[in-house]
């Protein structure tokens, strides 16, 4: 039943360049990144979501009140990758981290690099490092570095 040697196999690629429209909230967020600003959204209860969320998960309200946060923040958790895989954007050791930007009540997932795992802990301070080109994507922030 599992005669692997006679099996027909061939690689194939499922590839497409998706075009994502951003809507009013994320458009402002991505425009902000172009000016090296990180924007959050503020709910009626005063909670600040960053990156700018479109909806409050608890009150269900639509969010539109934009507020600038960061660019510094605090690591809430992180996972450290010594050997990045082919799909990872960084080719050197880095962390995926949940970063609570200054002024925000929620954290944002991004990457932290240019350090060792032992340099990082929950509570570490990091700050955004910007990509050279701005493409209205979350990768316009290239990664975060430890604050010096």
């Amino acid at each position: 039943m599992n005669d692997q040697k006679d099996l027909l196999r061939a690689p194939f690629e499922l590839a497409y360049t998706y075009k994502r429209s951003n809507g009013p909230v994320m458009s402002k967020f991505f425009d902000g990144l172009g000016e090296q600003k990180i924007l959050g959204t503020k709910s009626r209860t005063g909670k600040v979501f960053a990156p700018a969320a479109e909806f409050d998960p608890d009150t269900h309200e639509s969010l539109s009140d934009m507020i600038e946060v960061g660019p510094g923040g605090t690591i809430e958790s992180f996972s450290w990758i010594d050997n990045p895989k082919h799909h990872h954007l960084l080719k050197k050791p880095f962390a995926f981290a949940l970063i609570k930007l200054d002024g925000a009540d929620t954290s944002m997932l991004h990457m932290v690099t240019n350090c060792n795992e032992s340099d990082l802990s929950i509570g570490s301070r990091v700050t955004a490092s910007w990509s050279k080109t701005q493409e209205k994507r979350i990768t316009d922030i290239q990664f975060f570095n430890l604050e010096t």
């Binding site: 996972s79 990758i81 949940l98 979350i138």
Partner: protein
Amino acid sequence: MKKVAVVGYAQHPILQNAGALNEVELIMPVVHQLFADLGICQDDIDFTCSGSCDYLQGAAFAFVEGLSAIQTNPPIKESHVEMDAAWAMYESMLKIQMGDADTALIYGFGKSSPGDLDSIISLQMDPYYISPLWPDRVSLAALQARVLLDQNIITRDQMLAAVIEARVNSKNNKNALITDLIDESEYLDNTMISSPLNKLDCPPISDGSSAMIIASEDKAYEFTDHPIWIEGIDHRIESSNLGSRNLSRSNTLQVSMGQLDLNNIKFDVAELHTQFSHELPFLKSLLNLADVPTNLSGGPLVGNVMMCAGLDAIGKTFESLKENQFKHGLAHATSGPCLQHNMLVHLEKQK
């Protein structure tokens, strides 16, 4: 509420690479086994429901292909969830409760071997803010592991124990993919994939399928003198905003526990859809299962068929109740990163 019972369950041996089998060839044997066990055929089934995910194999409409495994002449009442088949079981249960069916066949299938599960699972995340960073499934789980370790909700030793016990328990599971035992030094020598998770903390890439039959109260006794009843079931989802969740807790599981009155039930056995080692001690603590034998099948760490593993937790709990002097069993199924969407199923064997 109409009572619904699990009356049969079958699982394909979990394979590292089921390349020689297409969807149909994976599904047919388990369905046939189940029919043979119960002495029935598709004509005895009122509703059929499956769970699968197109992206695992990279084929749009994988479930359409899969349906060719089932007798559909005459046409059948049938549906499909793009979720773990545990949710196909849930949908089928509703059909029985509303009186549209007395019996339901549920099947799930998944082949993770053809693609790169790590990058595929990135596409489960927020497509604007998160998936463009290509976070792999292990790194996402590791975020929660680190929070739990940092807050002393779980310990490294518990993670180690979860890995070692899973392999010990795999002897109870004839379909397990991983059966070799390991010791502490082997665990500690393993390099991190995404710290704090090493390779042994993660489930193996697995291919397989499983099937289940559930029935209304009247019908259940036609199949068996000892149906295993779905005494309680509840599932809820957490926020999609990973950064707004408190990863050290699960508000939704707390609510589900209340719905099922879990604190007043003495469970004999539990099977939890804990794909990563840290999730087992976390959920055992959260669900008050400290003294309850858990994942006697080895659980997802010895075989984790995507789109089936949740149904398998229900199936393994069913088998445990059936084969032992047990009365109450708890099954858990999950979906999404960091235990985002959880289902709890209380199964009971009435003496």
